[in-house]
Symmetry: C2
Subunit: 152 residues, 2 copies
Amino acid sequence: MSRGEVRKEDAATLEKNLRIISTRIRREGRKVLRDFPITPAQFDVLQTLFFQGEKRMSDISRNLGITKSTTTGLVKRLIDAGFIERRRSERDRRSFIIDISSSGKSLIKKVIDRRVEYLRSVMTEISTEQVISLEQIVSLLLEVMDSKKTAE
Amino acid sequence: MSRGEVRKEDAATLEKNLRIISTRIRREGRKVLRDFPITPAQFDVLQTLFFQGEKRMSDISRNLGITKSTTTGLVKRLIDAGFIERRRSERDRRSFIIDISSSGKSLIKKVIDRRVEYLRSVMTEISTEQVISLEQIVSLLLEVMDSKKTAE
């Protein structure tokens, strides 16, 4: 099954094409945000909480590589807009944690729905055989990435 | 050629898998940044300048959806580290623009190289036929996306 050799230029072309595709899908999804009182930087915080679960302020800063004062500003505006909540940690009652609210989750789901709808509209333009082949190879790529991760 | 109907769940699976693949590649590329005095937020500014060209401070803020004071901080640290430069605009001598430096460009290229190398290592694990098929379908997806963009 193994190919052994892959030319660098082939990998470079695929990297570039996947990067452009991913940017297109991302841009399409973020169009949803125009209808909501949220900036891209605030959305990054929301996304982190959605996919990684509740966090302390300092972990949000570290995760996104932003200063504490920037995080404080982003978090304050997200709380004001009702997308996230601040509460006492269950584990350590002296500290606070930040979590996504149900309205924050519903916003993320709207963005994902928009991405899916866009991808579906693209998929309808290619043949059934190509769609199936695309789905299979993308799953395979992910499997290989997973096995590499385990091997690390 | 056209398929006509694509089930929403198929599009949802593909969206999720492409999103995970894109996150893996991105994470791999950003490992390069560990060796450099640059945070993820600063890297976002650098990436914007690399792919979109020189910008005014206000355009950087708008583009990334961050406040002017956050942008000022990020830009200052990037100038100090030598990754970007601030100079008078050719078009309007009263205003200043921010541009990526040669050392900034070389950092972005290192990140892309790391992404390509990762993808190449993944591609060597699948068969030649699958690699070719992957390359073809990804190009096709991009063509369809391009034609949709033109049609907008």
